[in-house]
């Protein structure tokens, strides 16, 4: 082997692909933890991310829940934002051009209160240039109608998937809720109706009580638990989903390091997303990407794809 080739070999390939879309590396942010207009662009170079994933976008502006909306919990946090967002038109006019400027792939996370709203948003985004994929949030535990109601019943999940599939040309990712008995059944429901990928997990429905005031800590009563506290459960669920369907998986849930990301990928994820740890360590996405690369070098692995789903 020539010296030149050895030098090339030093840098392992991080490229990964999901439903035919190529990502320069497998690291992206999780929806809702990264803003929608480059809030972290002063800390990291967003062009170095595998993709940018937006906050949930609905057809019309959503007000969200009352406050407090967030609470710290051991090695994690709870949130009940309630999918506040300015609606799809403001997203397209104002946020998308900013995000496109960063020069990486863009995944738009969508949400709805009803099948009709999911349909309307996916149709509106169907032909918009610069959007690479849609991620369908059927798993938000913090909105009364829609959201999780579609994500915890395989029949309803099939219905949403089928409806959206008909309305959009973009590849669709179904984002699964962990608040189910069988994640495998949910992944199968998405696959059978034409989803191009699944992402998991969203947050666990949880509760925190202020014992002095004798009331719920969050205004919403319950909230979604995320962060390192849920990581081992997320790995198990990614593994189960990977063994149930052929669809590519974006794995998330408590990723705090390159090692956590590698674990997720060995369990079957083709890419990973980092959520709440973004708040803890604003540089985390780049740290995770670099740690993945270092791990591959250390283990003498030339291509990240070699480890996907090896278990």
């Amino acid at each position: 082997m020539s010296v030149k080739n050895e030098a090339v070999d030093v840098s392992p390939k991080l490229e990964t692909s999901i439903a035919g879309i190529r990502f320069q590396n497998p690291v992206m942010n999780a929806s809702g933890t990264f803003g929608n207009s480059g809030e972290y662009s002063q800390v990291i170079n967003l062009k170095d991310l595998g993709a940018i994933v937006t906050k949930g976008v609905s057809m019309v502006p959503w007000e969200g829940n009352g406050t407090p909306r967030v609470a710290e919990t051991p090695s994690g946090m709870m949130n009940a934002i309630g999918l506040q967002n300015p609606g799809v038109e403001a997203f397209l006019d104002r946020d998308l051009p900013v995000l496109r400027g960063f020069g990486t792939k863009i995944i738009v996370n969508i949400c709805g209160h009803s099948i009709e709203e999911y349909e309307a948003v996916s149709e509106r985004l169907s032909e918009i240039e610069g959007i690479d994929m849609l991620e369908v949030n059927v798993s938000c535990p913090n909105v009364k109608e829609g959201g999780i109601a579609f994500g915890t019943d395989p029949g309803k999940l099939s219905l949403v998937t089928r409806s959206i599939r008909k309305r959009t040309k973009k590849p669709i990712i179904l984002k699964l809720s962990p608040n189910v008995t069988s994640i495998a059944d949910m992944a199968r429901a998405a696959e059978s109706e034409g989803a191009d990928a699944v992402s998991l997990i969203n947050t666990f429905t949880a509760m925190k009580i202020d014992i002095r005031q004798r009331k719920f800590f969050l205004a919403n009563g319950t909230g979604g638990l995320s962060g390192p506290a849920i990581h081992p459960i997320a790995v198990r669920m990614v593994y189960e989903a990977a063994h149930a369907v052929k669809l590519p998986i974006i794995g998330m849930g408590g990723i705090a390091s390159g090692a956590d990301a590698i674990e997720m990928m060995m369990a079957g994820a083709s890419a990973v997303a980092v959520g709440m740890m973004q708040f803890s360590r604003p540089s985390i996405l780049i740290d995770v990407k670099n740690q993945i690369r270092d791990f591959l070098i250390d283990e003498g692995i030339g291509d990240i794809r070699e480890i996907i789903g090896i278990l």
């Binding site: 803003g35 969200g64 949130n79 390192p228 708040f279």
Partner: protein, 288 residues
């Protein structure tokens, strides 16, 4: 906004359960954080503890003459307690400066400025007062100004920074005081009357007949509500610094919203983010 390491140059208890912590930039980018920081802005102090993962929002109390960021915070729960246990020489990740800060320019054309701090809302008002006195906020149109600084506490045992505020009077700490023509008066109130006037800051303002063209305030919500009512009644602008539970501190998570009276042009709903759109808001715009 900058994120990087800073070094604790000093950390001491100035009252029971109140910590004064001074941080020096370790990485050169954090010098930018010091340079950009203004009164009313805050920092996120990132926890050194892996089980408490959310950073703590703390207002910038002062920028020292060495170019360090100073903070004063109460030991409320475990997170602030752990921060207070860090020894000088330790390193800490910090995101700063965050938030909009007090709009100093709004004070330019105003003759009578009132600065109000209550309890742990006092520290950021030191930075603001210093800036108002120092920055030559007087103009050709308003060559002379009155600045009333009103500080409220529960009782004498909770007094903080009274000496530092007194120190603002000393001409050597502010050599240009004479020229920029801001005359200022310091007033203290305590709920139990153990220090200064008995009662809250609004009682004091009423009792002493302090008139204002503009108010800047930080403190507990009931105090801010009272100021909101006074400002509305008198038709004067009051800029209030608010607190809300935060996760990101940079406008990304929408965790920290406060209700607004009309639809906000960014969110398109009646919500604004305390961390990014605030923490300082015009009292007529928000629901408290």
């Amino acid at each position: 906004m900058f994120y990087g390491q800073m070094e604790i140059v000093s950390s001491e208890s100035i009252r029971k359960n109140i910590q004064l912590m001074v941080l020096a930039p370790l990485e050169s980018k954090m010098e930018g954080a010091v340079k950009e920081a203004g009164p009313g802005q805050f920092a996120m102090l990132h926890s050194p503890d892996d089980s408490r993962l959310l950073p703590r929002p703390i207002s910038i109390y002062d920028i020292t003459k060495e170019g360090f960021l100073a903070f004063i915070f109460a030991l409320k729960g475990e997170g602030t307690r752990r921060l207070s246990e860090l020894m000088p020489g330790s390193r800490l990740y910090v995101t700063a400066p965050l938030g909009n800060g007090f709009p100093l320019e709004e004070a330019k054309e105003k003759k009578r400025i009132t600065v109000i701090g209550g309890g742990l809302g006092v520290p950021p008002m030191y930075f603001l007062s210093k800036a108002l006195i120092n920055s030559g906020s007087c103009s050709a149109e308003v060559p002379k100004k009155n600045l009333d600084i009103v500080l409220g506490y529960r009782s004498e045992s909770e007094l903080i920074l009274e000496k530092e505020f007194e120190g603002l009077k000393s001409p050597d700490s502010l050599p240009d005081k004479e020229e920029n023509g801001t005359q200022f008066f310091l007033h203290f109130a305590s709920d139990d009357g153990s220090f200064g006037s008995k009662g809250n800051v609004l009682d004091l303002i009423r009792y002493k007949g302090i008139e204002s063209d503009i108010i800047f305030a930080c403190g507990p919500k009931p105090m801010l509500r009272g100021i909101q009512a006074v400002a509305q009644e008198k038709g004067i602008p009051a800029y209030l610094s608010l607190e809300e539970r935060m996760a990101c501190g940079v406008g990304a998570c929408l965790g920290c919203v406060v209700k607004t009276r009309s639809v906000n042009e960014h969110s398109l709903v009646k919500n604004v983010r305390v961390c990014k759109d605030g923490p300082v808001f015009l009292s007529s715009e928000v629901e408290l």
